[in-house]
């Protein structure tokens, strides 16, 4: 599989009145063609900032791309001119957002908002664009699409609006769809429907999807690979199966334990992870999870662990950055070494 997008050593900071917030600190991962990649992490871990960076829609004051590259189609997206990026947005990369009510223009009817992206990138008449938009509305599963075209966002329900957003994002068959918390604001039953819609449309076009969420359940259902972010860094990434059944980072482990499931022991209490993420104004020099980690060691405070490959039976890639996985640790403690 070849990568569609390669993110290399991305560093992004926000220059605020209170100082510099280092929101993304050395993030590197690939998105392969035709795959569904899940990016999980709690609020503030940098997952949305990273996705916005791919689209380059971060407001550049106060955001600053300090370092790194985002390679797509052989070009570094961070180095392209704004007009070039405008040709890519909506056409090669599509994006859907969490709060669909706030993400749709309240004074424009829904259909026109879909037609808008079509007409921006293709030289078609307004009639043709309208027909295409109606077709998209039909594809995302909205009944009576001709009528829906003329309606306004406030006349749609949450689920319908999210479908409309999908229609906008996928209207031009982009190579990459970035879905930033698409189901977080929806009921569980609607969530399911939306994910189905997304999957159906993606399968047809073989696009890649970057699904950002803090909901592990959604990831487990849909993603083949997972990237786990914490405090602006990637702390673990690999095939979904490995992440879920063979997590090698205390944070990932903690996340999995804190989610209720049908199979768990109902007499035991849920284990939350105590504390909260570190302050990104002055991020710690060592492992960012140090202050909340059950297994923390002295070295974890001073030195940030390196990304180590975790060998797996099926040969799929799995890496985590934790000192518990390093060879030195295993050798030094031998029998007493902790295995997550």
């Amino acid at each position: 599989m070849e990568p569609l997008v390669q993110i290399k050593n991305l560093h992004i900071s926000f220059n605020t009145y209170a100082g510099e917030v280092k929101a993304v600190r050395g993030v590197s991962f690939d998105i392969y063609k035709g795959e569904m990649l899940g990016v999980v992490g709690e609020s503030g871990c940098g997952k949305s900032v990273t996705s916005n960076a791919i689209m380059r829609i971060l407001p550049t004051p106060p955001a600053e791309y300090k370092q790194g590259e985002i390679i797509m189609d052989g070009k570094n997206l961070l180095g392209l001119s704004e007009s070039h990026m405008q040709r890519i947005r909506g056409k090669d990369i599509g994006m859907i957002f969490q709060d669909s009510m706030a993400s749709l223009n309240p004074t424009m009817n829904v259909g026109s908002q879909i037609a808008e992206v079509i007409r921006r990138h293709q030289k078609v008449s307004s009639d043709k664009a309208k027909r295409q938009a109606i077709e998209m509305l039909h594809l995302v599963g909205l009944s009576n699409p001709e009528k829906r075209y003329h309606q306004y966002p406030h006349e749609f329900s949450g689920g319908m609006r999210q479908r409309a957003m999908i229609a906008i994002a996928l209207a031009l068959n982009p190579k990459l769809l970035i879905a930033d918390e698409p189901t977080t604001a929806l009921d569980v039953t609607i969530q399911d429907q939306i994910l189905k819609v997304m999957k159906t449309l993606i399968e047809k076009s073989d696009a890649s999807v970057m699904l950002i969420t803090h909901d592990l359940g959604v990831v487990a259902e849909t993603c083949r690979r997972v990237v786990v972010m914490y405090a602006g860094q990637i702390i673990e990434q690999g095939a979904a199966d490995h992440i879920f059944y063979n997590a090698k980072h205390p944070y990932t482990k903690g996340l999995l334990l804190s989610v209720p499931s049908m199979k768990m022991d109902k007499t035991k209490a849920l284990e939350p992870i105590v504390g909260s993420p570190p302050d990104l104004f002055s991020p710690p020099a060592g492992c960012p999870f140090y202050a909340r980690c059950k297994y923390a060691m002295k070295i974890c405070k001073d030195s940030c662990p390196v990304m180590e490959a975790i060998p797996e039976n099926d040969g799929q890639a799995h890496e985590a950055s934790c000192w518990l996985n390093s060879l030195n640790y295993r050798e030094a403690l031998g029998e007493r070494a902790v295995t997550l």
Partner: protein, 326 residues
């Protein structure tokens, strides 16, 4: 959007809304008219007091102007004159009608008002949008300064500044009068200053709020050009609060025009009003007051009627406007 609105609520609710608003407007006009009448009768002084007048002449005059009738009859006569829009003869001039002052003055005042309003709207919105897009940089600071100045400098001082600079020093425009297009420029600017300051500030804050909205991000993610983004998504939404404040702004404009007409000796209605007040010329006072009030009430009514059609989120339910929810 009109079609959609009619379809949405059915003609019934719409008609109900229009009638209700209309009825309200008429009621208010009646209140204003009555109040004016009361005020006129309360004002001390009589237009005809003069030592040289004989008693019979005074009686004749009083009878001619119906001032000898009991108050209630005068009130009915007054209402009649308002409804038929015939305010009777002026008390100052034997030959001129009160209506004359209105017909002469109204077009002039309207021209001044409309010119000033357009100036204020165009430049105010332009400045406000530019300021919002350049938040915390120098265009923003300039707009804030202009907005503050506009609000702090009363129109008569501003007029004086404009005249002394552009008329006396540079000689570009005449000092006063309403002779040519040129003479309309300075009064127009002087009158536009306050509304422009208000519109600038309103546009700026509205635009700032809109540009921070999520749908701007969605629009950017579509790859549309910056101009399209600013106009179709930014300004379109930002202008809603401005339209709804148009009522207040025009009210200020009308009252401001009275002063401007005085300063620049413009033969509009404001000028007539002030003069007639000084002369106790009742018919003219009442005529001018009624006309002004009707204009303002009609304007507010028009905005009330137009706004629901511009903002698709407003529904007309049971004769009132409500914010539509799912």
């Amino acid at each position: 959007m009109l079609a959609a609105a009619l379809k949405k609520e059915g003609k019934n609710a719409l008609a109900k809304y229009i009638l209700k608003r209309l009825g309200y407007a008429i009621l208010t006009i009646w209140v204003v008219v009555t109040l004016t009448f009361i005020i006129m009768k309360v004002i001390p002084g009589n237009p005809f007091i003069s030592d040289k007048m004989t008693k019979t002449t005074l009686e004749n005059l009083m009878r001619f102007y119906k001032l000898d009738q009991p108050l209630f009859i005068q009130y009915l006569e007054y209402l009649k004159s308002v409804v038929t829009f015939n305010f009777g003869p002026s008390m100052v001039s034997a030959t001129l009608d009160a209506n004359f002052y209105i017909t002469r003055g109204l077009p002039v005042s309207m021209q001044l008002g409309v010119q000033a309003l357009l100036t204020a709207l165009i430049f105010g919105m332009l400045l406000g949008v530019v300021a919002a897009l350049n938040h915390n940089r120098w265009p923003d600071y300039i707009s804030i300064i202009i907005a503050i100045l506009g609000v702090s400098v009363p129109s008569f001082i501003m007029s004086r500044i404009l005249t002394s600079f552009f008329s006396l020093k540079l000689g570009w425009f005449p000092v006063s009068g309403w002779a040519s297009m040129k003479s309309t420029v300075l009064p127009m600017i002087a009158l536009a200053v306050l509304p422009m300051a208000q519109i600038t500030r309103l546009t700026r804050s509205s635009m700032l709020e809109v540009m921070g909205m999520d749908y701007i991000k969605t629009a950017r993610a579509k790859g549309i050009s910056r101009i399209a983004l600013i106009l179709r998504h930014g300004v379109k939404n930002a202008s809603l609060p401005i339209i709804s404040s148009l009522g207040t702004i025009t009210t200020n404009l009308v009252t401001g025009s009275i002063v401007i007409e005085r300063i620049f000796a413009i033969p509009g209605m404001g000028e007539s009003l002030v003069k007639s007040v000084g002369n106790r010329d009742y018919p003219v006072i009442m005529a001018a007051t009624v006309v002004y009030s009707i204009i303002l009430i009609a304007l507010t009514l028009a905005i009330d009627l137009i706004y629901p059609f511009i903002d698709p989120r407003i529904k007309i339910v049971g004769g009132e406007t409500v914010l539509a929810e799912e």
